[in-house]
């Protein structure tokens, strides 16, 4: 047992120290924080770019409304009288005392076309904002003049589909909706994590096995350890690295939710809506289930990846040989992407029972409440049995494979290995 610990520790320590691990672990949260920072920075920048705008109203009816709309959009607006000297304004623009000014005339009132006079064209954000403000005011004004204006306005707003849950009162319905969103987020994130872990860390197990075989270190190690001990130590060590990575990511999210977010909201009330995301964080049950599915899925695939590594002589061979495993991981992921929206294909639940597909397909279904509990339990039992069988087969292939320097075995030879090991 002590020896297995040594193998686990070696595998873990040597991997966690690599640049690749540090980069991929820190890179992900940094990337997310970076994106959020850029979004925030841009928002702040646009606030700072609040500029003075002169509004010349020649229509005589739009001026005050547009001024208010623009001020709401963050501009400081100076409303000029209709008879203002436009040459004087032009001169101010040329002297760079004024960046630009807007002219509303009768065409504006009828067609929402207006002039923006400046030395340079407005930026895309600015032109969008201004156009939206002006158009909205004009539409509003014109609708107000119409008899059934309110009705038309609602049509413009795009109508609404109102879901009315049968058999639930309003409060219960809200709770159910929040739960659904939580399940959705947890399911998508969990499925993605499982997918990445099985693919990336399964492949690392393969690599680790192959490296030892190629360098023949394995012949030395195996004189002190039983093959299954070495294989188990490797799988656990590599898996622990994967768990460390996920744990760091989850900690980052928790840190963000617990610390960064409140201070962000305190700093700028615009971010208040973000606070809602905290209520959608998964509960301990969902996380525990994720760990169960991770352990089963990871053990299932990494033991098979280890067997592939033991069969092959080099990475090229391994690349071809591992293809069926990769397909077994990618197919459920694609199926899952297709069925994330609602539960339109109930027979997919049965597909999700297939042990090789279960981690990626059953976990999201379980947290979204799409499948009955007995199905989740059945899939866990099925997976556990499959893990047991796969480990048995893989262990035997591994035992023969790591010491064999010959050609990759044919299927028939492989069966002989399994039988005779």
């Amino acid at each position: 047992m002590k020896q297995i610990w040594s193998v686990i520790r070696r595998e873990y320590v040597e991997r966690v120290k690599t640049r690749a691990f540090i980069l991929s672990t820190l890179g992900m949260p940094l990337l997310m924080i970076g994106i959020m920072a850029i979004v925030g920075f841009v928002a702040v920048l646009s606030e700072q770019s609040e500029r003075q705008i002169v509004l010349v109203d020649q229509s005589g009816q739009l001026g005050e409304r547009v001024r208010q709309a623009l001020e709401q959009a963050g501009y400081e607006v100076e409303l000029a009288a209709a008879g203002v000297d436009m040459e004087n304004l032009d001169q101010q623009v040329l002297d760079e005392e004024l960046e630009a000014y807007i002219v509303l005339d009768d065409t504006t009132a009828s067609e929402a076309v207006f002039a923006y006079r400046g030395k340079e064209p407005p930026g895309s954000v600015r032109s969008q904002l201004m156009r939206a403000a002006v158009v909205e005011e004009i539409v509003d004004l014109r609708l107000g003049q119409m008899e059934d204006g309110d009705s038309v306005r609602r049509l413009f707003e795009g109508g609404a589909l109102e879901y009315e849950p049968v058999g639930l009162d309003e409060e219960e319905a809200e709770e159910a909706e929040a739960e659904r969103i939580t399940g959705m987020i947890t399911g998508i994130a969990g499925g993605l994590i499982l997918y990445i872990m099985m693919l990336a860390y399964g492949a690392q197990t393969l690599q680790s096995v192959l490296e030892e075989k190629q360098s023949r270190v394995v012949e030395l190690v195996i004189s002190s350890l039983r093959p299954w001990q070495l294989m188990l130590g490797k799988i656990v060590g590599v898996g622990a690295v994967g768990l460390t990575q996920v744990a760091i990511w989850i900690a980052c999210v928790a840190l963000l939710a617990g610390l960064a977010l409140p201070s962000l909201i305190a700093a700028a009330s615009d971010f208040e809506e973000l606070a809602q995301f905290r209520q959608y964080l998964p509960g301990p049950g969902a996380i525990l289930l994720l760990v169960v599915f991770f352990l089963l899925g990871y053990f299932l695939y990494s033991s098979l990846f280890a067997a592939v590594g033991a069969m092959c002589r080099n990475l090229q061979e391994a690349g071809q040989t591992q293809a069926p495993l990769i397909i077994l991981i990618i197919v459920p992921f694609m199926l899952q992407m297709m069925t994330f929206q609602g539960n339109s294909m109930p027979w997919m639940n049965w597909v999700a029972l297939f042990p090789f597909f279960s981690p990626i397909m059953m976990y999201p279904r379980a947290v979204m409440g799409d499948v009955p509990t007995w199905m989740v339990a059945a899939s866990i039992v099925l997976m556990a049995l499959t893990v047991w069988g796969a480990a048995w087969v893989a262990g035997r292939i591994y035992k023969v494979g790591i010491l064999s320097q010959g050609n990759r075995p044919s299927p028939r030879e492989l069966i002989r290995w399994i039988r005779e090991a």
């Binding site: 020896q3 012949e219 030395l220 004189s223």
Partner: protein, 316 residues
């Protein structure tokens, strides 16, 4: 340390790879405390034999025993095995790697570390302890691997070509260590194609040629038996007419000395008596022992053309 019973026993062992027979009908017994040399040209089956002893290869026929039983996990862990192809974790630091190998062989972490440090110092590698193995030269890597072989203080050392790739100074250091370990009661089996090394170190040798055992004997005994009866004499001043002496069938000049091949029935003592009565001043009189290389060639013939040549000295 006292050991009872045969340490390694091979009986009628055979191993084939496809159509090629690597080892055929091979018997071997190694008694405790011996330094045993497994000699033969490259490709003669030494490594295959050793790999079967370590349970890495399974024989196609015959039986392999370690410490009186199958070479299972428990028995293998009493062996320190240095494979011919050097296997190291290239990206691990030297000391970490040694501690790891010590640990999986049941040495406590702290003890493994202190032993490793001692060995590194002994082999002049202390300053490399925290370097990655891949930064070391091949020779240094080999020394690191040798340390990992002896770190758990095994009863039996099986060393496959331990000297190849080492410079003469390090070869000497390693020879010294082998003799020391032997003095501590360890059994040592090593393979080599360097006959001089074997001649200096081994108590017993086994010669393999083309998958078969050719000779297996105590080295001193072997040399005595194979002695051709030739003597070397060296004189101060004028040499007597040795060629005319009875019993001398052939005279060959070898530097300052003369090598006399004796005819049938002639005994070295008779020649010595002749020298004394000849009244010349004698500087050296020596029974010429056959070189291992000669013995090998006598029994196995010159290595076939497709075999690598048998070397009598120096590093390969």
């Amino acid at each position: 340390m006292t050991q009872n019973g045969t340490v390694v026993r091979l009986s009628g062992v055979r191993k084939t790879f496809g159509a090629h027979t690597a080892v055929d009908d091979f018997d071997l017994e190694i008694e405790p405390g011996t330094i045993y040399g497994l000699l033969g040209p490259n490709g003669s089956g030494k490594t295959t034999t050793i790999r079967m002893m370590m349970g890495i290869l399974l024989p196609d026929g015959g039986a392999v025993e370690l410490f009186g039983g199958a070479p299972d996990f428990a028995r293998r862990s009493r062996v320190g095995y240095l494979p011919e192809e050097r296997g190291v974790y290239e990206k691990m630091k030297v000391l970490d790697q040694l501690v790891f190998f010590g640990e999986i062989r049941g040495v406590a972490r702290g003890l493994a570390r202190s032993r490793a440090e001692k060995w590194l110092e002994r082999l002049g590698l202390s300053e490399w302890a925290s370097k990655k193995v891949q930064a070391l030269s091949k020779g240094m890597q080999q020394k690191v691997q040798f340390i990992s072989t002896v770190l758990h203080d095994p009863e039996l050392l099986i060393l496959d070509e331990p000297f190849s790739g080492l410079d003469p100074i390090n070869q000497d250091v390693l020879e010294e260590i082998v003799l020391e370990e032997s003095a501590r009661g360890k059994t040592i089996l090593f393979s080599t194609h360097l006959m001089e090394q074997a001649e200096r170190l081994c108590e017993r040798v086994c010669l393999i040629s083309r998958a078969r055992k050719v000779l297996d004997d105590d080295l001193k005994e072997l040399k005595r038996r194979e002695r051709s009866g030739a003597v070397a004499v060296e004189f101060d001043g004028e040499a007597p007419p040795v060629a005319t002496w009875p019993g001398v069938s052939e005279v060959e000049e070898a530097g300052d000395a003369l090598h006399l091949t004796l005819g049938d029935g002639a005994r070295p003592e008779e020649i010595l008596a002749k020298v004394v009565t000849a009244g010349v001043s004698l500087r050296r009189f020596e029974l010429l022992e056959p070189r291992l290389h000669e013995i090998f060639v006598r029994h196995a013939g010159e290595p076939a053309e497709d075999d690598a040549p048998l070397k009598t000295g120096g590093a390969s």
